[in-house]
Symmetry: C2
Subunit: 224 residues, 2 copies
């Protein structure tokens, strides 16, 4: 029996609850380090040190650093993609759905801090490791946002000369860039940030008003 | 005399033009690789291979991978920060300055492709290497954007309940996130993307119109 095999067998003698709890502690420590130093520059040794443990012990719980990365982000990414599908499916008008989607994403970033930001930050590593499942979840989220924008543009509740896809990238950019500056224990709550961005984009997409028409040269037809 | 010393001496016998040209080729190859695979996972060997050269030869031209990263981004980041200072200084109204700043940044991303995107992507590595000069240039750019937003909020040409800093992060987020999807040789020009974002944010920040006031419950005071 190999050393790792012996250790793993020992680990399995622990009751399931202890094993699961320890695994969760490892994910938590790894997520903190991935967020702070990046995936590439974090070793399993670093994770072990953060837990006053050693690398060999970490191997009872995860097979590789790559597995650790995926364990850290998988559930939160799946949950966010599911939420987007639910919001898209609602019968609310497109602007209400866009607001919900934006606020929900900022909430998820705060609730799952820093797990979900690791996913955003390590975009290259993720693609490189060719995780088709994670890639599909990302695409699914993006699709929901594009669909809500297209719906609003089609029924006139949004107005823009641009492609819904570019608009979606702009909105996602503002939200995903929060991984560089937002900290849920900071001055602002995720809801404050979410509402600020929702307001900015909803106003940016709302149909032009009477005043804008006046500015554009046409006369407002008030009283009709 | 060490091997490197000998090689460097040979390199210096080249005329300055050849030496500079070769350096530029190395920066170009490095930028492509940093953008594609990330700084951490790119070695000087990879850069040498891309140029059908060897690592020892690369050392005639740059002292380290870190120096290479900084050479690749330094000039473009300085140029962009300078441009922001010039736009802030103009006497145009704040909305016009915001539009200029957004369009100019997208143009810089395209003109300096992929150099400037390496700077965005490698944010962590940059901070970690503690390049105070680059950090200061980033802060300077951000300050110009915040000032233009604050100016517009103060004179009523913009309207928002939020802090100019959060608004700035939202705008920068949309622009910087283009490093994940925008390619200047693709379907859209940098000006099209810049104008789309400028339009979205300018409308998002423009003072509320008569119609919005009506929606909000208050009666419009037309004719006053």
């Amino acid at each position: 029996m190999s050393n790792i095999g012996k250790r793993r067998a020992t680990a399995l003698k622990q009751d399931a609850e202890t094993y699961t709890k320890r695994r969760r502690e490892i994910f938590e420590a790894a997520a903190q380090l991935f967020k702070k130093n990046g995936y590439e520059r974090t070793s399993l040794n670093d994770v072990a040190e953060a837990l006053d443990s050693d690398r060999a012990t970490i191997y009872y719980y995860v097979a590789s650093k790559k597995e650790l990365l995926h364990e850290v982000v998988r559930d939160v990414v799946a949950q966010t993609a599911k939420e987007a599908l639910e919001i898209r499916r609602r019968s609310d008008p497109a602007p209400a759905k866009l607001r919900m989607l934006i606020v929900a994403l900022m909430r998820a970033y705060a609730t799952n801090f820093p797990y979900q930001y690791v996913y955003i930050q390590e975009g290259i590593a993720m693609n490189d490791h060719g995780d088709a499942h994670l890639f599909k979840l990302g695409q699914q989220y993006e699709r929901c946002l594009v669909d809500i924008l297209a719906e609003g543009l089609a029924d006139g509740s949004f107005q823009s000369a641009s492609d819904p896809k570019i608009l979606a990238y702009g909105i996602l950019g503002a939200l995903n860039w929060t991984h560089r500056w937002f900290n849920p224990s900071g001055r602002l709550s995720s809801d404050e940030v979410g509402e600020t961005f929702a307001e900015l984009f909803l106003r940016g997409l709302s149909p032009r008003d009477v005043k804008a028409v006046v500015k554009g040269g046409a006369r407002p037809r008030i009283g009709r």
